[in-house]
Symmetry: C2
Subunit: 342 residues, 2 copies
């Protein structure tokens, strides 16, 4: 029982356990030359006194490092240019810090980097992993499967189809894209096109499928009416220009990210098309600093990276606490924020 | 000697060392129950064949983890809002990856976070540390001193005055601010003010001192003619508005960051002062996406986070390679980029 008053010291633990201060220190720092009996006595005394000197002692008891890896498998420029990842990193840091865990942010994009990350994760430096690996061909999800650690994925990796053994939290990319496209259709925009993310990106494919499903487009129509941006503003502008050439009478655009939608608005302006009078635009993300301040403000499907990460951290802690959490892919619902652009 | 042909396999090493495949694997994965003689034979065979299966084997030979911590002691929002830190993280990642090292990004701002970071760094998870700790009262530099690891600081921590035992690479904040202010004076702007960063920030203090030195301002003049922003655009706008009230006939502004200078331009516009006709503005950073695209484009002292990090990584590797590198504070020179604002 922990008594009121000043917190117990290392000396108090030594007295209670009947050993020297140096022995307590050796136990706490996990050094050799302490018998199992003495170790047990010191830990018992520390527990009785409520002595938690630092993370070292805690990790000795719990066999934990206190660190959780957040792995982002994206080119390093994307991590700073894309507000989704900024939100992911901030939220991971805050949520883990609330649990007194140290976030280690690891970036990995190319295969040799994945190998290095895999090695680091395998060799006892972290208690668990939050992994964001959206790209096809990324070896990380396969590596993650073999880790003797809890891993929770943010967004489905390409592997998830093969097996249902993963813990995943994903946005409703398919449903959100359907919602966006139906919003265009309901406003009489029957001639829509879509600007997609890169086709090696899982969420980009899901959003394209959502648009296809809502527009009932076959393969030929999809090829004509879709163009790939790369989740950037410049990519969105290029794709919009291309689509205007291919489908001159288009009246609605579903852009699979806010950044690409802003680029599309620029291309439409240059082409003399007024939004929303001539063309309605709906985007995906609804990032406060982008969608609301675009001109015109963007009607957007709301993606919630904060909620996604909070859910991931909750699942990770359940796994770390030894709960029998069945693998699952939890899909967070999508909502639409209506603004001027559609 | 490594022969031409396919790279040697784990089997090749086993054959050469005269042991089983499982034994080679145990050695490589640093597992128990292998005699020192067998371990030596396996490592010798691996070296002869040029077999480097993965970082595990390398770290077994070098006793390294292959990971380097990049510690940023800033509020987590600053890391994404301030282009300096984005450049630091990107460059650290790239430079370390070139050396096949894994960057671990650790954020720490408040004292309890510093303790957690200190614990992680002390407990054998990394080979070295690149540390950015600019704020007064941050316990991290003191913790870093006691680490049994090479640590290189980006920017002087507050501690450095007490002792010269640290490895530091810093921008010439004092000299750069002098350069900026002299540029204003040389253009006949004799009535200058300065917008500073937060006064618990080392670089902010150095830049204020540079302005003081160039303007030969005493304490009273400095109090009248300086206002603290917080390195943000909004902070710069507030500080500029305050300074316009205090020094209505000001004709020159040295803003200690690009973001604050952009805020100052907005405040000057609202006050009906034209830049550079009525007031000249010089900023610090010269970030390509900010200084050059401001209206008018900003004359700015160039800060080079890429060069700073490259120098830090070079120093860190010298220390890791056991070179007898004397502690030093290397100051990178400042240059001025002239544009329309002054």
């Amino acid at each position: 029982m922990q008594l009121p008053g000043p917190p117990p010291t290392l000396e108090d633990v030594a007295v209670r356990a009947g050993v020297s201060r140096a022995t307590v220190s050796r136990v706490i720092n996990n050094q050799p030359r302490v018998s199992p009996e003495t170790t047990a006595a010191v830990l018992a005394a520390a527990a009785e006194l409520g002595y938690t000197p630092n993370a070292a002692a805690r990790s000795l008891v719990t066999r934990r490092t206190g660190a959780v890896a957040v792995v982002l498998s994206e080119p390093e420029n994307m991590i700073f240019d894309d507000p989704f990842f900024a939100a992911v990193v901030r939220t991971s840091f805050r949520e883990l810090a609330r649990h007194n865990q140290q976030m280690l942010l690891l970036l990995a994009h190319r295969a040799e980097q994945a190998e290095r990350v895999g090695h680091f994760l395998r060799t006892g430096h972290v208690d668990g992993v939050l992994m964001f690996s959206p790209h096809r061909g990324d070896p990380l999800p396969e590596l993650a499967r073999e880790l003797p650690l809890p891993v929770v994925f943010g967004g489905r990796p390409w592997l998830a189809e093969d097996g249902d053994s993963l813990h995943i939290v994903d946005a409703d990319n398919h449903g959100g894209a359907e919602l966006a496209t139906r919003h265009l259709l309901a406003r009489g925009r029957g001639n829509t096109v879509t600007i997609t993310g890169p086709m090696d990106h899982r969420a980009a494919v899901d959003r394209l499928e959502g648009w296809r499903s809502a527009t009932d487009s076959d393969r030929t129509a999809t090829e004509l009416r879709s163009a790939a941006g790369d989740f950037t503003r410049a990519g969105g502008e290029r794709a919009m220009t291309e689509l205007l050439a291919r489908v001159p009478d288009l009246d609605g655009v579903f852009a699979a990210s806010d950044h690409m939608a802003v680029g599309a608005l620029a291309a439409l302006r240059k082409a003399g098309r007024e939004v929303p009078r001539d063309v309605s635009v709906v985007s995906f993300d609804d990032h406060p600093a982008i969608a609301a301040s675009a001109l015109p403000a963007l009607t957007a499907v709301r993606q919630d990276p904060v909620g996604m990460v909070a859910e991931m951290v909750t699942n990770l802690h359940a796994l770390l606490d030894g709960e029998d959490l069945a693998p699952s892919c939890r899909i967070l619902p999508s909502t639409l924020t209506e603004r001027a652009s559609a």
